[in-house]
């Protein structure tokens, strides 16, 4: 017998995969990695130098793709109403969505970073730093996507607006994530701090946004 919280997480993960929504960010991530060498030319040394940063920017852009399907469909179909009537708090619903979103977003991106690194001819050490950084940074990206998804859930054509809201807020993740590529743990610690802050705040922001959108 699963608890209500685990049931909610399982439903969101299943919906992410059956709708094909979980594959889109990965495809987008890989496309950016494929297009970049075409844009700057096949200079292996240059690609290896900037490749880590490219992967970070690609991950950031990929995080924008699922924003519109995180909260808006459930709000429109009354699923969130039904959960609230059953006594679930809006913040708990948002936390379940955050965990489910990270579980269906981060592992595929971490896997896709392997072929993407090969396309950019990244050295092994850089690849490992990217993977560690993404592991720490993706919860923060998922939290931002969820909070903005909830804030824009009742707006028409919220996708473009969501991008404008998320990208500036994600700058610290990008700076510390790309900063960690030089080695050293200072940037990683700051990345973890930013990510933790976003994860801790997002369920409450998203919960309040969900509550407000009911009125």
């Amino acid at each position: 017998m699963m608890g209500a919280f685990a049931t909610l997480i399982a439903r969101d993960i299943r919906r992410a995969w059956t709708g094909g929504g979980a594959l889109l960010p990965v495809a987008f991530f890989l496309l950016v990695a494929i297009l970049f060498p075409f844009a700057v030319g096949p200079d292996a040394a240059l690609l290896a130098r900037v490749g880590g940063g490219v992967l970070w920017a690609a991950a950031l852009l990929a995080a924008l793709i699922p924003v519109e399907r995180l909260v808006a469909p459930d709000l429109a179909s009354g699923v969130i109403d039904q959960l609230l009537v059953r006594g679930q708090s809006a913040a708990a619903i948002a936390l379940a969505k955050l965990i489910a979103h990270w579980l269906s977003f981060a592992p595929p991106i971490l896997l896709a970073a392997l072929p993407a690194a090969a396309l950019l001819d990244l050295p092994m050490t850089t690849l490992m730093r990217v993977e560690v950084g993404l592991l720490i940074g993706t919860p923060g990206l998922a939290a931002l996507a969820l909070a903005v998804g909830a804030l824009t859930a009742t707006l028409r054509g919220a996708g473009a607006l969501a991008g404008l809201l998320i990208l500036p807020l994600a700058i610290p993740l990008l700076i510390f994530g790309a900063g960690s590529l030089d080695g050293g743990t200072g940037a990683l610690k700051l990345l973890a701090a930013v990510s933790l802050l976003l994860v801790a705040g997002a369920p409450f922001v998203a919960g309040a946004a969900i509550r407000t959108s009911l009125d």
Binding site: R11, G19, G78, D81, V85
Partner: protein
């Protein structure tokens, strides 16, 4: 089981109804009637705790089941699985089969929700309410899209629920059989 105490509802700066008080006892029923825009759905949403009243309080901590405009069933799932999700949350997975029978949807258990017709979808949402087993039912326009046979099933299910000491609050602009129900008539105020 559910008690409205001097509830005032305002939407978009307009007062829809003022000082509304009533109580639902076990086995009781109340029918909310009124023209479109009179605040029937708002009243149901206040009873469900989804909308804050402008004034007054709603008492009663009995679990409630809500039937609103949206079916709230996952479109791509087979009907029985979509209902099963809610039944798991309510801890009543064994009640799904009975609820499908009560709404004459037993044959459609394996059909994805997105293929259901308007009336079938409405019955499926009602099956979710039945399976939930909450003592208080809040039904917003339950008769929408139902043919006369399905309406009969709905009325029978409500009668059984009341016979089992359940209470219902129904908002409907079409006639619906609710013996001994208290009628709450909302009027549209001129703006």
């Amino acid at each position: 089981m559910l008690r409205f105490d001097a509830i005032t509802c305002a939407r978009g700066g307009r007062v829809l109804f003022e000082g509304l008080s009533f109580a639902l006892e076990p086995g009781g029923a109340a029918l909310v009637t009124g023209p479109n825009g009179a605040g029937k759905s708002s009243l149901i949403r206040i009873a469900a705790g989804l909308l804050r009243p402008a004034a007054g309080t709603v008492d009663g901590d009995t679990p409630r089941a809500l039937l609103s405009e949206a079916a709230s069933l996952d479109e791509e799932s087979p009907l029985a699985k979509a209902l099963g999700f809610w039944a798991r949350l309510d801890g009543r997975t064994q009640a799904v089969a009975g609820a499908l029978e009560a709404t004459a949807l037993g044959d459609l258990a394996d059909v994805p929700v997105r293929l259901l017709s308007t009336g079938q979808r409405r019955r499926a949402a009602f099956a979710r309410v039945i399976a939930g087993g909450a003592p208080v039912w809040l039904l917003d326009e339950p008769a929408n899209g139902l043919d006369s046979t399905a309406l009969g099933l709905l009325e029978d299910a409500i009668a059984r629920h009341r016979a089992g000491d359940g209470a219902v609050l129904v908002a409907s602009h079409t006639p619906i059989r609710l013996p001994n129900a208290r009628t709450i008539t909302l009027r549209r105020e001129s703006a």
